[in-house]
Symmetry: C2
Subunit: 589 residues, 2 copies
């Protein structure tokens, strides 16, 4: 990928395909042939913030991972007989004990993972990687692992940011990407599709948008689920972690989109109901979602699908004078009952400052005007999005958003900014590797907040972040509801040591938890957030998860080693810090 | 209530206030001062269908329940010391062991309950009735019942049609209506209200619509939850049974409307999350909803509320030539992504025949025209509803419904029919008592169905019903979703014996189950549907409910005696009959 040439000094960004078999080919995000570098104004800004000079960008300051993966000291500890038995189940091409294949499924994509891979820190490794092909194979593998007490992990799209996939106890990792990715059935009457859990986001979307050719359908469809990790995410990962896509305000989170699930568990196959609603006891679909592989392996998912109607999309962007104005406008839009926008994203003052550069608004004649109009830098907040749905619906939502934005002093910025954002929406993560080569690490944390506590959480978390050394923290609100929204924090810091970074990450997560927000809106818990979970939910409430675990996986072989905290020792847990009592939140403006 | 005089013979309907302390004052539905009788054309129709003459209506053919409740042979079996201890908790006015008070909370409102009360069949009775006032009192009662192994039941609004409230093992019944019905807090920023679980539907709605006066709110609100049992239902009952209101297609079912819950359980207080979505393990809110009192007693509920904007409501009604046309139109409306109608009700051919009389369309000049226009009696299907929400949203939904109805041959019938339906929507149940006095019993069953299986379920269930003696079965579709809808069966039969009726009811429920529908969309399971539940859900799946029960209530004192099947013996369960595999349903028109 070419980019706009710098006028001044430009660092020697890594713009080469990583060698096959190298560490970089594992830890680098996304398409190996796609590269993204910061534009010059962003580069200048970063130097300023982190007190760096061009000198700091003359040499890579971190390992760029060009070496071949060759592991010594990490022998396969699983007995030969087990590997033979597993080969019996999945066939010759379904098994690997090669170093590269083992390391390739050992980590997810949180910065802690990437830093460890850059520094060749191998904390975890499966003994064997399996590539199952059918549900029956997965069911047999689960039964075998359970019978022989072998830890079992699942690698879906690989984009976990919670150490959810990390095989901390070795054993088996199922790599679902290669073969467990097929359509099982498509039902146009009900508007559903049933797929194997390893199907990737892009494969699913391509399938649905090609429904007329593939299934003789009347029209193309969409799943409506587009997380930022879209390209390297899987249907199974979305489901077991309770993910959300960037368009969730209209299409719903995955917990709304999933109609039915099938799991291979140590006690056998579990199949949930396929009705849109029922009154038949606790909701099993909502019990299995969020289990993150600890109850068993998700094999098949039936998803609701929507009509693909991009022609009805209406893009909008507005700038507000303050975060307070913008927040109030956003709340009014969500409570107005005019329908919901598909993408709905409101940046706070710091993120707006960065976004206007990232999306090239600083190159337009509008940029200098904003200050003059009273929309001041580091106060103003950018709001953007687009609507979906039937034509009249989409138009009505956009009209009401315009009306409410005006009422709260919003200044319309046309669809230009939104289009720029759309172009970057899935490739911003590519920037991360480029920056990490020079010692700047970036990661994200997010949480759900009720409207009545929004200002408090935003203030508290930023305050903690600003007290940390060399930190930029930008925040946006997305995934909105009438009763609250997700707050999403992106932080950049000059830091390379993985242990130091882990402590840093913990400080922010802790601040979120203490501020009265939920620990996670859509990233899940994994092994990284697990120490906080019991304290967050409450001891007796958390006990529910434990009895479910004991029922499905009494021998603790499914994703063991701390996932959602189930097998953590008491001393590994963060002491009880309950979320604010809802009754104590403000009730009136 | 007066009514249009009959031209011919009119039965001596019971139009008098039932005596205080009488059986009738317990089993009769609703407001003691409100009466409803069938209009003459409906009376004629019934005589025809059931092969009855005016002679059959000269005398009441069933006990009309005028006698005083005086029980002998039903002593209080709970030890004096327990009653004293409970009095200590709730105070003098919080306890009763009077016959009438005990019987008043012993049954719900399924026809089996009413027939038993008419015939003075006392199968169940609590030993003591408590009227708690505070959450703390309920928590202490639960702890006491658990410590002393006393069965504990809850009576909310009293309108259970599944024997959910029946204290089959005696012990304590909590009558929540009297005192456990207060607002705890109202949060206008988040648009939520927190109430005690015993609050009734009308009290909640009155509170929300008076929010400006009561809480100094900016505007009035609504909960949007209006089950047909509205007047005699409670927030707690809605929640623990997973109820749905008639406006659920827009506002959602109670499982969408509830934000947070608090329970008093034998292991202590359980509080669920108050965030609109999160990714923190299995969803505890969806685990507790559907527990129907078997995990503990629901004490407090936080509900999402909506803006009260009746001025935006758009009423519509259409008539279709056939059920097939109508069903296809309904599906298209639900999948069109133009927003959702609030009330959305489609009657099949038999119900249409009755509805047109019930709602006086047979008195209009339109009626004879319909046949001429090709909308033939016993083929045509009535579709009605109204839209809610912001003005533009409401209009857009109504416009699209009109467009789609036209495309499928729907003939517009104006808002007249819908208004008639609205007038009767909560008082149709009053007809039941009037008819039962003359030996005609009516009851309802309902289920969820995917669109692809809709025709099959409708056919199968009607076939079974038509094979039963003296039966009218009318069906409507309501509570609709893009992936399916609720099918609601109302059946009328000339039958008085409670045992005979129970067997009859079972036959229909069994037919529903075998047809591939869910057992219940919104009535819940209770003790009446419980024998089918494990077979329906699957043994391993049902095991989840059992481990949850063992966790919350290891001594089985909470709503014991078969509720959601938890303490049924194997021989009390219906042998395994699984729902149709989803994969086997049709996929294309």
């Amino acid at each position: 990928m070419s980019h706009k040439p710098y006028k001044g000094f430009e660092p020697k960004w890594v713009m080469e395909l990583a060698p096959e078999g190298s560490y970089r080919s594992i830890f680098r995000w996304g398409d190996p042939n796609f590269f993204k570098v910061p534009k010059e104004s962003l580069y200048r800004m970063m130097k300023e913030v982190f007190e760096m000079t061009d000198e700091d960008f003359r040499e890579y300051s971190d390992d760029i991972g060009w070496d071949q993966v060759e592991l010594s000291g990490y022998p396969v500890r699983l007995d030969r007989e087990h590997i033979d038995a597993l080969r019996e189940i999945v066939g010759e091409e379904g098994v690997s004990t090669a170093d590269y294949d083992r390391l390739a499924v050992a980590y997810g994509f949180t910065a802690y993972d990437v830093l460890r891979l850059r520094h060749k820190v191998i904390d975890s490794l499966p003994d064997v990687v399996l590539y199952p092909d059918t549900t029956e194979q997965v069911e047999r593998i689960v039964a075998y692992a359970d019978a022989n007490d072998i830890p079992l992990y699942v690698y879906g799209g690989g984009s976990s940011v919670t150490r959810g996939v990390e095989p901390v106890k070795g054993g088996i990792s199922l790599d679902m990407r290669k073969r467990f990715n097929k359509v099982i059935s498509f039902n146009e009457i009900d508007q559903t599709i049933t797929v194997q859990a390893g199907m990737s986001g892009p494969d699913l979307e391509k399938t649905l948008q090609s429904a007329p050719e593939l299934f003789g359908a009347k029209r193309p469809y969409t799943c409506g689920h587009f997380p930022q990790s879209f390209e390297y995410s899987s249907v199974g990962g979305w489901t077991v972690t309770r993910g959300s896509g960037q368009n969730s305000t209209y299409y719903g989170c995955i917990s709304d989109i999933v109609l039915s699930q099938k799991y291979a568990t140590p006690i056998g196959t579990i199949k949930t109901s396929h009705y849109p609603r029922e009154a038949c006891g606790p909701d099993l679909n909502q019990i299995m979602m969020g289990s993150e592989g600890t109850f068993g392996v998700l094999t098949e998912v039936t998803l609701k699908v929507f009509r693909w109607m991009p022609e009805n999309r209406r893009r909008f962007s507005y700038i507000f004078k303050t975060w307070d104005d913008a927040m109030k406008a956003a709340r009014e839009m969500m409570q107005h009952e005019c329908g919901f926008s598909s993408v709905f994203r409101l940046s706070d003052q710091e993120e707006t400052n960065m976004m206007l550069r990232l999306y090239n608004v600083d190159d337009t004649p509008l940029y200098p005007l904003l200050d003059k109009l009273g929309y001041k830098d580091m106060e103003r907040c950018l709001f953007l999005g687009f609507t979906d749905g039937e034509k009249g619906y989409s138009r009505n939502v956009a009209r009401n958003i315009a009306k409410i934005a005006r009422r709260y002093g919003g200044f319309p910025l046309t669809g230009y900014v939104t289009k720029s954002w759309e172009k970057g929406r899935f490739n911003d993560p590519y920037l991360r590797d480029t920056l990490m080569d020079f010692g700047i690490t970036t990661d994200t944390l997010e949480c759900t907040v009720n409207w009545s506590n929004m200002e408090q959480v935003h203030q508290d978390v930023r305050k903690i972040c600003h007290a940390l050394p060399n930190t930029v923290v930008t925040t946006h609100m997305s995934h909105c509801y009438p009763q609250g929204a997700n707050l999403y924090f992106i932080f950049l810091t000059r830091m390379q040591d993985e242990k130091e970074f882990k402590a840093y990450h913990s400080t922010i997560l802790d601040a979120i938890q203490r501020s009265g927000a939920s620990i996670s809106h859509h990233h899940g818990i994994g092994k990284m957030f697990a120490p906080w979970l019991e304290g967050y939910i409450g001891e007796k409430e958390y006990g529910v998860f434990k009895v479910l675990k004991n029922y499905f996986d009494p021998k603790y072989n499914m994703n063991p080693g701390g996932t959602i905290g189930l097998d953590l020792k008491p001393e590994e847990k963060i002491s009880d810090r309950r979320y604010t009592d809802y009754a104590e939140q403000p009730k009136k403006d």
